[in-house]
Amino acid sequence: MILGSDKMRRSLFSKKSARILGLMAFIATGGGLIISTAINEENFYKTEILVIFGCFFAVSLVDHYRRLIERNNSKKINRRFLYILLCSFIGATLTWFINHQMGYGAVIANGLVGVMAATFLPNDLAGITYTSSLIGMSSLEVIPSMGVAALVSLVVALIFVNTAEIYEGIGGKAGTTAALAVIITRTIIKIFS
């Protein structure tokens, strides 16, 4: 009985930790965009707009954090990890190929992959395909080859599986996940190169 209770407590703790970590990563990605622009921007009005947006963003995040901690019976996510990994790989590399090799541009490549994913795949797999498709929109300076795109798609799949419930219902969660994965992979590549 005591062992069971300990196990449950540990499981709840790890879930809570994962949620907090995911939320912090989200804050870092969104906050990083606001802060870096506000610092580099010479136009005062643009900086002012960013500061106002940043304040509302912070207020909303506090509220979101409270709800996230209170949420106990979270919706179960279908963790067919192998399929998720495969869809993530196809989404990122196919978009990168259409964008850079075929030269159709990032917007058309993303839209095309998204429409195909939504047509042929079930909802959860279409979601991860569309998320990883955003990776392929990166410029050649950021993702120079299909191999790097494949590596980022692996990171995206890992983030997606662990954080899908955190960002649930928020527009732009796919983009934030993709941006986070690209930044993490770039940092890892920089460390090892």
């Binding site: 947006f53 541009g105 917007v107 839209g111 939504a118 955003l134 929109m137 960002y167 934030t176 941006a179």
Partner: protein, 127 residues
């Protein structure tokens, strides 16, 4: 003038994406992807000078349009979120350049900022 066209594009794109996703109930991926694809094909044709920029702005707003109906209750709220996305797109055009997911991050900030705005000024929690 250029900014006004960008804002108008984001409002139309965001609302269309929300309409397909939540009102027509076709799903958020198809809602966003169809707007992104159509804007990527059509806008450079109709606006040769700034079509690429408009298509990017439309894609950005379409990601915001993936918001759930619990967070954006109706099309009017979505119009405001899309407008906020457009303003942020114009203001943050120098950030995260070349990084895939930049537009989605802008959309997410706009969505969160709208929820924060509702919390502070409207003072209602509709849930």
């Amino acid at each position: 003038m250029e900014e006004a066209i960008i804002l108008a594009t984001t409002v139309v794109a965001g609302m269309t994406s929300y309409l397909v996703s939540n009102i027509l109930k076709r799903g958020s991926v198809i809602g966003s992807a169809i707007v992104t694809l159509v804007s990527g094909l059509m806008l450079p044709y109709f606006f040769p000078n700034m079509g690429g920029l408009l298509a990017t702005a439309a894609a950005c707003a379409s990601y915001a349009g993936m918001i759930s109906v619990e967070n954006a209750l109706n099309l009017l709220e979505m119009a405001v979120i899309s407008l906020m996305t457009g303003i942020l797109f114009v203001a943050a055009n120098s950030a995260y350049i070349g990084i895939g997911g930049r537009l989605g991050t802008i959309a997410a900030i706009a969505c969160f900022a709208w929820l924060g705005f509702k919390k502070v000024f409207v003072g209602i929690d509709e849930k």
